[in-house]
C-alpha cells in the first residue's frame, strides 16, 4: 500500500499487476504446501493420472470396437486438459469464501484469490505432464521409434488458451459462490456433462459415421448436429482437440480427418477464452463490493 503511488483504479481487474508479487507468493504457497512434507508428493501427481489412464484404457478398449491409434496417449492427453480446466474452476469457486477472514480485515484486490488458485493448478498441470512423458517413452520403446516431436511444444498455446478460459469461468463461478453456496453442486453436474461431451474416451469421427448411416436411412442427421455442437460450442473439446494435435497426432500414422486442426479451431479457442474472460471480469467486478456482506 505504501511507497508506490496508486496506478491502477481500485477494484479494477488491472490491479492484479500491482499485486503481481502477491500472485507469486500465493502460488508458491499452494505448490509448497502440496509437495512439502510428503516425499511422494510429486510422484503421486504423476501416478494418479497414470493409474486412471490405465484403468480407462483397459475398460474402453474392451467397450469400443473402434481403433484409435495410441489410445493411452489419446486418452491421457484429453483427460489432462479436461482435469486442468475442471480443477482450476472448482478450486477458484471457493477462493473468495475461503479467504473470508482476510478480506474482512484488509484491502486486497479480490481478483487475486481465484487467479492465484487457477495459476497454481496450471503449474500443477505442467508438473503432471510427467505422466504423459512417461507414457510416451514407454510407447516409444514398444513402437521402436521416437514419438516425441518439435510439434509437442505447441501445447504452450493450448495451455495459454485454457488458462485464460479458466480464469474467466473461475471468476464467474467464484463470485456466484459468495451469494449461492450450493452453486458447487450445479457446477459439478455441469462439469460431468462437459466430461461426456468432450470426446475424451471416444472420438468425434464416430458421430460423422453415424450421421452418414442416418442420412442413408433417410433420417435426420442428428449425430451430425451433436458433432457440430461439440466441435464448435464446447471450448473444452476445442482445447482437447488442439492439445491432441500437438501431442498425440505426431505419434500416429494416418491421422484421421476429425483430428485435423484448422486455423478456425485456434480462432474459436482464443475467441471463447477472451469472451469468457470478459464475462467473468464483468460480473466479478460488478459484485465484488457486496462480497463483504455475504462472507
Amino acid at each position: 500500500m505504501a511507497t508506490k503511488p496508486r496506478q491502477y483504479k481500485e477494484g479494477s481487474f488491472f490491479e492484479i499487476f500491482r499485486y503481481k508479487d502477491l500472485l507469486v507468493q500465493l502460488v508458491k504457497r499452494d505448490i509448497k504446501l502440496k509437495y512439502r512434507r510428503s516425499f511422494l508428493g510429486y510422484v503421486w501427481s504423476i501416478l494418479n493420472p497414470l493409474l486412471i489412464m490405465i484403468i480407462m484404457a483397459v475398460v474402453f478398449s474392451f467397450l469400443f470396437k473402434r481403433e484409435i491409434g495410441m489410445f493411452p496417449i489419446y486418452l491421457l492427453a484429453g483427460r489432462s486438459v479436461f482435469e486442468f480446466i475442471n480443477t482450476a474452476v472448482s478450486k477458484a469457486l471457493g477462493a473468495i469464501t475461503d479467504n473470508a477472514s482476510l478480506l474482512k480485515k484488509t484491502y486486497v484486490s479480490k481478483f487475486m484469490f481465484p487467479l492465484s488458485k487457477i495459476t497454481s493448478v496450471m503449474v500443477d498441470f505442467v508438473f503432471s505432464m510427467g505422466a504423459l512423458i512417461v507414457v510416451m517413452i514407454v510407447f516409444s520403446f514398444i513402437e521402436g521409434k521416437v514419438l516425441f516431436s518439435p510439434w509437442n511444444f505447441g501445447i504452450i498455446i493450448v495451455v495459454a488458451e485454457a488458462y485464460v478460459f479458466s480464469i474467466g469461468l473461475g471468476l464467474l463461478m467464484s463470485q456466484l459462490h459468495v451469494f449461492f453456496r450450493d452453486i458447487r453442486y450445479v457446477y459439478n453436474a455441469f462439469s460431468t456433462m462437459v466430461l461426456y461431451c468432450s470426446a475424451i474416451f471416444y472420438d468425434v469421427g464416430m458421430f460423422y459415421e453415424k450421421a452418414k448411416d442416418q442420412v442413408d436411412a433417410g433420417a435426420a442427421p442428428l449425430a451430425l448436429y451433436l458433432a457440430y455442437f461439440i466441435e464448435y460450442f464446447n471450448p473444452v473439446y476445442i482445447y482437447i482437440k488442439q492439445f491432441r494435435f500437438f501431442v498425440w497426432a505426431p505419434a500416429v500414422e494416418n491421422l484421421p480427418q476429425w483430428a485435423m486442426v484448422t486455423p478456425v479451431d485456434f480462432l474459436l479457442g482464443f475467441g471463447y477464452a477472451i469472451l469468457m474472460l470478459f464475462v467473468g471480469v464483468f460480473f466479478f467486478k460488478r459484485a465484488q463490493d457486496k462480497f463483504i456482506l455475504y462472507i
Binding site: 508479487d21 507468493q25 500465493l26 509448497k32 484488509t106
Partner: protein, 266 residues
C-alpha cells in the same frame, strides 16, 4: 478554483463525507440457490435494514492522532473498515490521500502452515508491497518481531503473542501516511506492547496520521490529541480529546448510576 481544490486536498488527509453504511439484518441469511428460489416464490425475500453508520463526517489533517471511542456496537470498527477500503459506504464518500496500513486484526493474512519467513513475504505482499521492498526491510522486521530463532518453523506452533508480534512488525515495516489501529495491542506481553506504543509514537512524530480504537481511556489520552465519539452509528461529539473523553466518561458514569438505581428499585 484549482488552487483552492489543491489546498483542500493537501489540508485533509482523510475525509469522510456523510457516510452511511447499511447492512441487511434479515433473520436468516439466504446464501443458497434453493433457499433463494423458495423465498422468491413465497415472496419472502426481505431486506431488513440496519444502519451501522449514519451521516458520519470526519475530517483529519495530516499528522493528527484521532481516537474513536464508543460502546460496543456503536460503529467504531465499521468506520475503520470504511476508511481502510474494506467496506464501501452505502451513501457518502471517503477520500484518503496516500498509503494506509490497517491493524484491524493482527496477522489477518498469516497462514499457519507456512514458516515465519514465508509469512513475512506473504503478508507483506498482501499489504501491497513488492518482494524487492520486503527483501530490503526483512532484517528490520525480524529484529523488531524478536523472532530470529523461529524464522523457519511453521507459525501454527507459535503462541498468539508471537503471532501478533509478527503481524505488527510486518504491518508497520514502512511508515504509512495513515495508520489504523483497532484494539490489537491487547495481546502480547507488556514489554512488546510498550515497544509497539513507542513505534507508533515514533511514526506520529514523523508525520504519520493515526486512527486509534481502544476502550482504555488512559492509552487513548496518551496517544491521541483528537477524538470522535460514536453512539449507535451516529457522531455524538468530536474534537479535542480531553473534552470528548470527559463527556464520554460522565455519560457512562450516569448510565451506570441509572442502571444501579433501577436494579435497586427491583
Amino acid at each position: 478554483m484549482e488552487n483552492l481544490e489543491k489546498e483542500n486536498a493537501s489540508s485533509y488527509i482523510v475525509e469522510v463525507n456523510n457516510v452511511t453504511v447499511r447492512f441487511n439484518k434479515a433473520n436468516q441469511k439466504v446464501d443458497n440457490l434453493k433457499e433463494y428460489f423458495v423465498r422468491l416464490v413465497r415472496r419472502q425475500l426481505m431486506f431488513q435494514e440496519f444502519i451501522a453508520l449514519r451521516d458520519v463526517n470526519l475530517k483529519i489533517k495530516k499528522g493528527e492522532a484521532w481516537a474513536i471511542i464508543g460502546t460496543n456496537g456503536s460503529g467504531k470498527s465499521t468506520l475503520l473498515k470504511v476508511i481502510s477500503r474494506i467496506l464501501k459506504p452505502y451513501k457518502g464518500s471517503v477520500r484518503v490521500e496516500g498509503s494506509i496500513a490497517s491493524l484491524i486484526e493482527l496477522g489477518a493474512g498469516i497462514d499457519p502452515k507456512l514458516t515465519a519467513r514465508e509469512n513475512i513475504y506473504l503478508n507483506g505482499c498482501i499489504l501491497g508491497y513488492t518482494k524487492q521492498f520486503i527483501d530490503e526491510k526483512f532484517d528490520a522486521i525480524v529484529e523488531f518481531s524478536e523472532l530470529e530463532d523461529f524464522l523457519d518453523s511453521p507459525v501454527q506452533n507459535f503462541s498468539s503473542g508471537m503471532k501478533s508480534r509478527l503481524g505488527f512488525s510486518v504491518a508497520t515495516m514502512v511508515e504509512p501516511d495513515v495508520l489504523i489501529v483497532d484494539e490489537v495491542l491487547s495481546v502480547g506481553d507488556v514489554l512488546f506492547r510498550k515497544k509497539c506504543m513507542k513505534r507508533m509514537k515514533e511514526m506520529l512524530a514523523n508525520g504519520t496520521t493515526l486512527l486509534f480504537v481502544s476502550h482504555n481511556m488512559g492509552t487513548v489520552k496518551e496517544m491521541c490529541d483528537k477524538a470522535i465519539w460514536l453512539n449507535n452509528g451516529e457522531v455524538v461529539m468530536s474534537g479535542d480529546i480531553n473534552k470528548v473523553c470527559d463527556e464520554y466518561n460522565s455519560t457512562i458514569e450516569e448510565k451506570k448510576a441509572k442502571e444501579k438505581k433501577e436494579k435497586q428499585k427491583k
